[in-house]
Symmetry: C2
Subunit: 461 residues, 2 copies
């Protein structure tokens, strides 16, 4: 059986795979510092060379800042009906403060840390060169044993991720036909814990809206007009207070249209993690969940939509007191969306609520700030099913399906610009110290991650 | 009958009374401009001389800024059981811009304006020298005909009213025993309209409170924590929105304790004025009343307590949008009080409401800003009854009893420091252009106002 031989080769060639990672880690591809622009380009060229050596049609594509690596497999494929786009980045974070590093950040080593855990040290080991290289090495092992890849593969590696990816979205838009395929594989994510792989299957979308309420034509004296003239803070707080019921649910009509309940299996797997409101919120000084009654804290942040107030202002807000009756007040309101919630419908429902509660003497204006739907990989998607099976076989435990409460820009960009779903699979750990001194990547993440990608690619065929 | 003779003398001596007013109006007693400090003092000395000439024990009393005139009648009195304190001020507003005056502001004249109305022109004619002089001239006429005053009289004239009265309250406190008597007569108020005298019988009190709600120990990202962490703007808006019911009533328990309904006669007199929400609010761009349903607009501002929001702030309030989940939010809330409402009880009821609605993860702090009860002259007070009868006899129409939605500092000071009620009686008109160029005082206000004071003093005996 091919897969067994592929995995054996991966095990046998591990030292060579590590050597190739170390070569890449030695390149100081700090994208945020113009002094390192040449090393960024050198790292991109290094990736192109690795891919070309395997037979990919690989090239560096120019952008206004750092180049993007694009590589297409044009050789034989087991299942040519399926085409995946792999995304990663070859640039790294700056290394200051250098004196906090125990060793040269660009001289990678294998070290043993507490509990006998072996790790690869160095800037970029986890974020993202280690995670990129295991995918490339999986391709190498598959080709070596099989002479072909399980599915069609395009590789996209950017060099600006640590600088806010200014060129990525324009590049995707300009090359949509070349890059839009069946599914994106995005690798710069973490496992749930050591030994416990995870796949992020949903991101929340966002609708932002500023609402401004105006009443009188100027600020009034509350002695003369108090009680008689409409106060825009009173109008606005009544409206905002109407948006959540006592159970923490959002009261806009149709708000939960398109919000599916979690499959029982997923809910049970989340409950089994033991994350409580208290453990989740303790770091920020809180202990009770503010979301919908009867939903666990993880469900509240990963799988449920919200209405939050991000800012409010009106009247006199300085020191001391003024008995002013203000002419206007405003609030910034945002909704995090999940599933198939429609941003336009939710913005319209919010505006309708405001209009409906507005007294005759108040005027309102709305100022939209962004609107994007949530993203979710259907729990019965074959991409997801295949990846889960592969991960379970490698790790001996089912991969956890998790959500992300916020947006992951690249996932939203792939959905919006390329119209493709994303499978977020990565083997980082929360203690990898990415963006900090003494970044590391577990040797197990490298080795079993590499084997995992070989298994996933086979399954996807 | 003495009163008839007194009134005849007033009519006969009107030219002399006007001369004495004009002498005072020629003194440039602009208290806000240090260049006029000597003229302010000269005006105070002039008042002392007028009072001394009538037989008062009168003197200028020093303060850190401009002196205060205090004069006691120690001669014969018809009813020595009653003692009134008359309050006015002898300083005036600055006259800039001088080029907008049709004549020298300190060269008073009698002029005829539209509709044949005769007016006294000049800075201070209405505010407040004209209103002060008619009281002094009434005393003079009473003494001339009667050889005694109807009641004991103390006169208090300050020289800093147009500069915020910095010395008045300390002076009242330091001389409380000398100045605290049965009732204060305060003269710098207006009639309702030409020919329609008015007495202000109530002032609203004030409780100010800043409430600050804090949740997490820092601002949070609404993607990561949105839905799960308590949002202080949500907490605060829920609390504020609970304070008014749909009928505009304040919902704090016991809030209306001590709030009496208007006597039917007073309500009818207000309704008869024809002031509607639309006429009252049109100048500020509004048209519907925001107060309690079923109460007229005048009742809402003159006779009903309020809860107003004077300021609110929380989260991001700059341009654009931030998906921040703020750590804290705060609001400035004030209550205007009427009748016997207890400021302490209302502050406590507000704090109890906040505490009761606070989720376990939110903390609150309160910052008080002032607390003073409303003031009201009981509608059956003999002072009020006497003054109303006197005004009705002079003007041929009942004096309107009105309220003031805000505080009148001197009225609050007399109540708080001297523990005495105030009868606000003045004969100014809304078109007197006080504080503006071309200030005037109707000759009818002067003449009938002078006669009114003689009648009132007789009635109070």
């Amino acid at each position: 059986m091919t897969l067994a031989r592929v995995l054996d080769r991966i095990d046998a060639d591990l030292p060579k795979s590590l050597d190739r990672l170390f070569d890449l880690l030695r390149l100081k591809s700090i994208s945020a510092d113009p002094a390192f622009a040449k090393e960024v380009r050198a790292a991109g060229e290094h990736c192109v060379a690795l891919l070309a050596e395997m037979g990919f049609e690989a090239s560096l594509r120019e952008t206004p800042l750092h180049p993007i690596v694009v590589a297409h497999w044009t050789g034989p494929v087991e299942n040519a009906d399926k085409h995946v786009l792999f995304y990663g980045h070859y640039d790294v974070q700056p290394v200051d403060p250098l004196n906090l590093w125990r060793a040269d950040p660009f001289d990678p080593k294998i070290e043993t840390i507490e509990d006998g855990v072996k790790v690869i040290t160095g800037r970029g080991s986890a974020d993202d060169k280690g995670q990129v290289v295991i995918f490339l090495e999986a391709l190498r092992a598959l080709l070596a044993e099989d002479g072909r890849l399980p599915v069609k593969v395009t590789v996209l590696l950017e060099g600006e991720e640590e600088s806010g990816s200014p060129s990525l979205e324009p590049f995707l838009a300009a090359n949509a036909a070349e890059l839009s395929h069946d599914v994106a594989l995005v690798c710069d994510t973490n496992m749930w814990a050591r030994g416990r792989p995870a796949i992020t299957t949903s991101l929340r979308g966002l609708v932002g809206e500023e609402v401004r309420v105006a009443c009188s034509n100027r600020d009034l004296h509350s002695g003369i007009f108090g009680g008689a003239a409409w106060n825009p803070i009173r109008v606005l707080t009544k409206i905002l207070a109407s948006l959540h019921d006592d159970a923490g649910r959002v009261t806009l009509p149709g708000f939960y249209d398109g919000v599916a309940d979690l499959p029982e299996e997923v809910r049970a797997s989340w409950d089994a993690l033991g994350t409580t409101a208290e453990t989740f919120l303790r770091p920020v000084g809180l202990k009770t969940a503010a979301g919908e009654a009867g939903r666990s804290i993880l469900e509240q942040v990963w799988a449920r939509p919200t209405c939050e107030f991000n800012g409010i202002t009106g009247g006199y807000t300085g020191d001391g007191f003024k008995t002013v009756l203000p002419a206007k007040a405003s609030a910034k309101v945002s909704f995090r969306l999940v599933g198939a919630q429609d941003p336009d419908a939710i913005r319209a429902a919010f505006r309708a609520r405001v209009a409906e509660m507005l007294p005759p003497d108040a005027e309102v204006s709305f100022h939209p700030h962004g609107g994007s739907p949530g993203f979710s990989m259907p729990f019965d998607s074959p991409w997801l099913t295949g990846a889960r099976e592969a991960l379970a076989e490698e790790w001996g435990i089912p991969a956890l399906l998790i959500g992300s409460g916020g947006s992951i820009p690249v996932g939203n960009a792939f959905a919006r610009i390329l119209g493709m779903p994303t499978l977020f699979v990565g083997f980082g750990l929360d203690d990898d110290r990415i963006h900090s001194p003494n970044e590391k990547y577990d040797l197990e993440s490298f080795h079993k991650g590499l084997r995992s990608w070989a298994r996933i690619l086979k399954k996807l065929a």
